[in-house]
Structures are given as C-alpha cells and as structure tokens.
Symmetry: C2
Subunit: 198 residues, 2 copies
C-alpha cells in the first residue's frame, strides 16, 4: 500500500530532522505526526514507540551520512588519506553551516546528540549509537590505511588508534561547534589530524 | 534564614546531580523538589524557572570541577605541563568510573551534555556553557605554557590552539565514553596530546 509506506517514510524523515535539530526529548510523537501529516493512530501502526521511531531515524541519518559525507571523503579511494580526512571536516562544516542557515542553530552531530541525551536513559539507543561510532571508525581507518600506503604517514602508525582519534576529535569539535555556534570549527579536523599523524 | 538558604542549596545540589546523570529535559521541577525535600512553592520563591535553577547548577558544577579536577591537574604549578594534561584525563576517568558505580551509566561531561541538549533550544544556557568552555581552555593553556617553559614542547607551539585541542579532545572522549560506557577512554587524553604536541 503506497499510501501507508509513504506515511511511514514521512514519519521517519520528519523525526530524523526534528530530533536532530531539537533533541529527542524536546520533540513529542504528536508533534512529529502533525509535522509529517500523519494521524497518531497510524503512528502506532508503524511504530511501537517513540524510541522505535528514533531507532529508524538514526538508521536513516547514518545512511545519509555515509553516502553524502563518508563515501565522498574518508572512503574515497581517489583521495589521499590526509586530504580525505580534511575533506571530511570541510564537508561536515559545510553541512552544519547549511543547517544553521535553515534552523538558526548549530545542531552538532546527530549520533553524538543521541549518545549524550540518551546513553544513560535508554540502553537500546546507546548500543545503536555505539555501533554507528564503530562504523565511523572503520570508515576513518580506510583513510588512515591509504595514508600509510601513499607514504604520507609512518607505516608504524596504529591504524585503529588513529581512526578512533579522527572520530573522537570530530565529536569534540561538534560539541564545541554547537556550544559556540561556530560550524567552522569542524575545519580544524584535517589540520589537527595532520599534526597528530605526521 | 538558615532554613531557606539550606532549601535553596539542596535544590541546586539535587538539580546538579539529576541533570548531570539524566539530562535537563528528563528531569522535572516536581521531581527535583521531591528529591531535595523542598515544596514546589518554595522552589518558585528561589528560582524563576527550571532554566534559572539549571544555570545555578551549572555554576555549582563548574566550581566543583575547577577545584577538584582543574586546580589539581592542569593548573597545578608543581606538575609538568604534559603530566598535568595526563593527570587531567586520569582524574576525569576516575570521576566517570565513580559515577558509573553509583548510577549504572557513564554520564559524560556536564558542560558537554548541556551544550548538546540545550544549545539549539536555549540561548542563555548555550552562552553560559560556551563561557565555561572558554575557562576550561584558559585552564589548559596554563599547562601548555608550563610545558613550553620546561622545554617539553616547542616554544613555537600555538598556546591557544593547543589548549583548545585539549578541551576538544576531552569533549570528544566524553561523548565516546558515554556512548560506549567506557570511562577509561578519558585516559587517552594525556598520551594523545603528548603525540600531538611532541
């Protein structure tokens, strides 16, 4: 039934945006339904709970993030490893600036946001976010390996540690960018990782 | 009136703990009053709003953090700069482990939490948190300056940038520690800053 799947799709898309910009706890099911143009009865036909919708919204955000940001930077085999990390930071900064232009605030990282807001409250969401961080680290490790292969950095570099450093630094910059309302902080990711690795 | 000031003190202390462990939006005024043993009428005698209480709780958290963590690590003139940064990470890891033992979760950084949860929702809280990050960076810069004076790192080191890197990395580790429920991630702060700076 096309109408049904379309309603579900609208709910996931709307929740993904609202929860990203405003936070999970600040957005209610009624508001999501209203913004998506779906009645509340239909909501519970598709989802057992707000948490279940959040889990799908997180998956949606990750699919978007991977194809739009990761595959065009960290995972792009045509880019040198250090350049790819720099591109990753620049794309994230551009994305934050775009969101700021649309919403008036800097929403940070959707995964970091869920981690901070829900890790002590909801074990299921915490585990989902933690698994996404693992995938981000895997993505960064592709850039680190290319960097070693190209002789940009020492072959003795600890790939796992360096990839973890990329994601840790990115998340820290996201928190500061959000607090300072300064998307450009993400542009530091490339230069700082370059100093760390070379 | 001792009873009044005691009630206000209990409200600030209770809010500080509950908002740290569970998040600002997950805790209501009624629950804070109940946990503090203060009736709701008294609450509005002391505070105009939950936000006003949160602002005082943040100040309280910062005073505690400065005296318990910063003054005994980053700002301790008896410690070498790099050792002081390492001590900072170790004290934060110990603190998180203690909180995990008490509450079952890893609550992360109280300032990062407020930044993430409220920056797009509440300009007043965002500005308060941003100012605290500035103080943290100032605190870290004392360690960087000592490190230069002791000849541990190059005199050409950009002090402001390096101090900002300490706090950014700390916040990133806090997000990952919370998502992975692993307080020990904070122990990486010292070694990673050592690699970055030397």
């Amino acid at each position: 039934m096309a109408g049904e799947s379309n309603a579900k799709e609208r709910l996931v898309r709307t929740a993904s945006t609202l929860m990203y910009v405003r936070g999970y706890n600040s957005v209610g099911v009624a508001e999501i339904c209203s913004a998506a143009g779906v009645n509340k009865g239909s909501f519970y036909h598709f989802f057992d709970s707000k948490e279940a919708l959040a889990a799908e919204a997180l998956e949606r955000s990750w699919a978007w993030m991977r194809s739009t940001i990761h595959e065009r930077s960290l995972e792009d085999p045509a880019k040198g490893g250090l350049d790819a990390i720099e591109e990753y930071g620049v794309r994230l900064a551009d994305e934050l600036a775009q969101r700021e232009a649309e919403s008036g605030g800097v929403p940070g990282c959707v995964f970091g946001n869920f981690a901070v807001e829900l890790s002590t409250q909801n074990e299921n969401v915490r585990a989902l976010v933690s698994a996404r961080f693992d995938e981000m680290v895997d993505s960064a490790s592709l850039a680190i390996v290319r960097s070693i292969e190209l002789g940009e950095i020492s072959p003795a570099t600890d790939v796992d540690q360096a990839a973890h450093d990329v994601i840790t630094l990115m998340e820290g910059l996201m928190v500061l960018a959000k607090a300072r309302r300064d998307p450009d902080l993400l542009r530091e990711l490339g230069p700082t990782m370059r100093r760390l690795l070379t």
